[in-house]
């Protein structure tokens, strides 16, 4: 039903014609759009701040020329970027100039999803939101409002809503991305790998990547260190169904059958144990349940894995021995986007255990111990207590979920269980592309009394909103401090570089004004963000003025490895590395990871895989005029033989149809290539936009999210495995 609704909506959109307002100048034919301090400003000035094009938060220096934003470069003092931003950060200039960015508060003017708006004042918009919130509170209690948020900018909105009484705040980055990895490592080592990940890539002498496509996936520090490792001759081992850029740097490329990584991991561990190549001292000092683990993996030989993975036993043995040769400086990378097949926590646990066998956790060239500077939180009054608790994971159905499950909130919104959810706030995350099966998201939206989107640009989820609140970009606002947990800790400031060009407001202002309208002034003892920041910084013995000049303050270089004096400690029940997990056993799960074969798709179909491009972040940058010039549509990667048999050539346009009959909204170009297995296709995520608010990106390429109608839920923590969809290619006449 909801799919049909979505389809009708789409047809209306395509028939609707021109967009909302006239385009402002794009980069190159600048500045129709007045920016900076206006025409009066002359000369060059620089402002230190930190980036927001992704969550890595590199420290940057922006340059303004004659009042107009010119460029953004890495801050040389920054331990994350070492003075070099990634292409997205460099292209962050375009976020300020983007003609498609939201300009004024919008109220929905017709049925949801039609994207017809009335422009209103901030007072009208926030009064409307506050009134709806009071109504929901009266009828259902404040727990009936939920927040979906991504990134540091959501801090103040979360504060306001918690003061109002919400209990449900989720980031799709848990159940749709890194959650299984974090839980798998928590179950094994007692803590996760964090963000930025505590991976010591620069000192690794052997680096193993499973589907992780560093270089296309542009997490700055990791890519810099990856290049350093490649340059210094480290052995790179890559298992990926696609010949990624990282694979092209590898000594060993393993063209693994999709969904069988756990079989490969078990076979690698089998070799290390059987041949006695693992770090016996490390395992006996820090391991728990090794004997039971070793017995459990005995049957999983390279010969056993061969028919599953397609990787020859000799290759498995050779790569396992290579890993052992360089241990403990062998890093089996935990990846980041880990929601693939629904057994993802167990796969991540196997990655953790392989690292444990190699003794890499806590060691140079493996996983270092990060540190953070002590910056006290602002002393707010306590939030109201709730009798109802959270709605995302009733009865701890997913017993090992360590954060709120976004799709659990969606489920509660659909079913009204354990209690009704009637209001959604969505901050800086395009839920229509972030959550699997958009039909369920649309069904949930039907049950809402209020859907508010706060963002810099439009999006598919903004198209469904009742109220859209336009935020200033990171280049025009203060945000909360970045107190970084890293091998070289620091505190960084984001501050305005130029003025916002229209009636956009910073998130802290939006959150505070909404709080005042809700009578929550007790939660905002500060009036300006500078006051808040200065208070926090003074608590740490620092000053706002200093950070305004320098951008960041560094906290030295604490010891980060066991060999430097870090004391090994594991927050697990056994206080050791859990090769065998009693908590998993007690909850009815495999105490040592076990492989199960992924379900095949319909005959003749190809598994749909997706990933990243270095010049875009999620589905949020496709209208950025600088980044769009670097890549303005995606392509579907099809194995050259498969394409030939289908009569398709590079550049031909096709639609993708999935196993449930859902067809991509737009035709996408074929990239017929040797660089992918014949049983799958690959799309870069974030394209195929259907929102007419995104004029530059509308209709360009295909959306993988639209085709992810099925997902397999991880029974341990509720993550949604999304690589379980299959497509056929339909040539466009």
């Amino acid at each position: 039903m909801s799919n049909q609704l979505s389809r009708r909506r789409f047809l209306r959109i395509t028939g609707a014609g021109a967009g909302v307002a006239a385009a402002a100048g794009t980069l190159g034919s600048l500045p129709l759009l007045r920016a900076g301090r206006g025409p009066a400003e002359k000369g060059i000035r620089t402002v230190p701040t930190f980036c927001d094009i992704c969550f890595w938060k590199c420290n940057a220096i922006a340059t303004v020329r004659d009042g107009v934003l010119w460029k953004i470069e890495g801050n040389p003092d920054d331990p994350l970027s070492s003075g070099r931003l990634c292409p997205r950060g460099t292209g962050g200039v375009g976020a300020h100039f983007d003609p498609d960015r939201l300009r004024r508060p919008l109220l929905r003017a017709s049925v949801r999803g039609e994207e017809r708006w009335t422009e209103v004042t901030w007072d009208e918009a926030l009064s409307h939101v506050a009134e709806k919130l009071r109504q929901i509170e009266k009828e259902h209690g404040p727990e009936a409002v939920a927040l979906f948020s991504h990134g540091i900018g959501g801090t103040f909105l979360k504060h306001t809503l918690k003061a109002y009484g919400i209990t449900n705040a989720a980031a799709p980055s848990f159940a749709q991305c890194r959650g299984p990895r974090d839980v798998g490592f928590e179950l094994t080592f007692g803590e996760g790998v964090g963000s930025p990940e505590r991976t010591d890539i620069r000192n690794a002498r052997c680096l193993v990547l499973l589907g992780s496509h560093l270089g296309e996936n542009m997490h700055n520090t990791q890519v810099q260190e990856f290049a350093e490792a490649v340059g210094s001759g480290a052995t790179i081992i890559v298992a990926d169904p696609r010949f990624s850029v990282a694979a092209s740097k590898a000594k060993h490329y393993l063209p693994i059958r999709p969904g069988t990584d756990l079989a490969l991991l078990l076979a690698w561990m089998n070799v290390l144990v059987r041949e006695g190549l693992y770090d016996k001292d490390y395992v006996s000092a820090h391991g728990f349940g090794f004997e039971a683990f070793a017995a459990e993996i005995t049957p999983f030989t390279p010969e056993w894995a061969w028919p599953e993975t397609g990787i020859e036993p000799d290759v498995v043995r050779e790569t396992a021995r290579e890993m052992a040769r360089y241990r403990p400086a062998t890093l089996v990378h935990p990846g980041r986007h880990a929601t693939w097949y629904g057994d993802d926590t167990q796969r991540s646990r196997a990655i953790a255990l392989l690292n444990a066998l190699l003794g890499s956790w806590g060691r140079k060239g493996g996983f270092y111990q990060p540190a953070a500077m002590d910056v006290p939180a602002y002393p707010y009054p306590p939030y109201p207590k709730s009798e109802k608790g959270k709605a995302d994971n009733p009865g701890r159905k997913y017993p090992f979920a360590s954060e709120a499950i976004s799709t659990g909130i969606r489920e509660a919104t659909i079913t009204g269980q354990p209690y009704p959810v009637k209001g959604w706030f969505v901050y800086a995350t395009n839920l229509m592309q972030a959550l699997p099966n958009e039909a369920e998201t649309i069904r949930a939206i039907q049950n809402l009394d209020l859907l508010v989107v706060v963002d810099v640009i439009g999006s598919e989820i903004a198209g469904w909103a009742d109220v859209v609140l336009p935020e200033t970009t990171y280049l025009e606002r203060y945000d909360d401090l970045n107190v970084e947990l890293f091998r070289e800790p620091f505190v960084a400031l984001r501050q305005p570089v130029v003025e916002a060009p229209f009636d956009q407001k910073p998130n802290w202002w939006i959150a505070r004004e909404l709080a005042l309208k809700l009578g929550l002034e007790a939660y905002y003892p500060w009036k300006t963000i500078e006051e808040y920041l200065d208070h926090r910084l003074k608590g740490a013995g620092l000053s706002l003025a200093h950070l305004q000049r320098r951008g960041l303050v560094r906290g030295g270089k604490p010891p980060v490895y066991y060999e430097e004096g870090v004391v090994p400690s594991f927050a697990t029940p056994s206080k050791k590395i859990e090769f065998y997990s009693v908590p998993l056993k007690e909850a009815g799960f495999d105490p040592v990871p076990r492989y199960s074969r992924p379900e095949p798709g319909p005959p003749g179909s190809l598994r749909l895989l997706f990933g990243r491009a270095p010049v875009h972040s999620f589905s949020r940058t496709q209208t950025n005029p600088v980044l769009a010039q670097a890549m303005d549509e995606n392509e579907v990667w099809v194995n050259a033989d498969v394409a030939r048999r289908a009569g398709l050539r590079t550049g031909d346009r096709v639609r993708l149809r999935n196993q449930d009959g859902v067809r991509s909204d737009f035709a996408v170009k074929v990239r017929a290539t040797e660089a992918i297995r014949p049983d799958c296709v690959y799309l870069v995520h974030g394209f195929g936009h259907t929102s007419r608010m995104l004029r530059r990106a509308f209709g360009r390429g295909a959306s993988d999210a639209r085709l992810v109608t099925r997902y397999r839920t991880d029974p341990l923590m509720g993550g949604t495995g999304m690589n379980v969809n299959f497509v056929t290619l339909e040539p466009e006449a």
């Binding site: 980069l27 070099r84 270089g215 010049v615």
Partner: protein
Amino acid sequence: MARLGMVIDTRRCVGCMDCVVACKTENGTPEGMNRDWITSATRGRFPSLTLTLQSERCNHCDDPPCVTCCPTGASHVHDWGGVVLVTREECIGCKACLASCPYDARYVHPDGYADKCTFCIHRVEKGRDPACVSVCPTHCMHFGDLDDPESEVSRLLASRRHHSVLPEAGTRPRIFYLE
């Protein structure tokens, strides 16, 4: 006199296009026009493949046909570093240089003049690297004096196998790719 050139390590390059984006913001190149670009070549049969990624731009050739063919002298070799430049005011937009360049490195700016990579001479004169070099997150790009045997670029060329693009064109390009 210096002879400026670039040495690019293809082993480190991941083809992220940061050099392309940095050039665009640094130099404000027009929509859809670029002074540098990435080429990508996949060779072999799955799964025995190689991928070569190269950041390319004007080669600032020792024998630049774009300079000899220019009817007005707008295209010229700069006194310092031998950088090939275009004097906008003297360019009549005849496109002879576009046709003569074996690297297709030039385009006609919407304002009517031939435009291309300047090795960011405005930065180099202040002692900084070109924008593409200084932004590269993989540190795969190196810039300096090819005539100075002690320079980083000369030492890299002496120590590693390398190639240039279309050496058979005979223009003696000054960008080299380490293999």
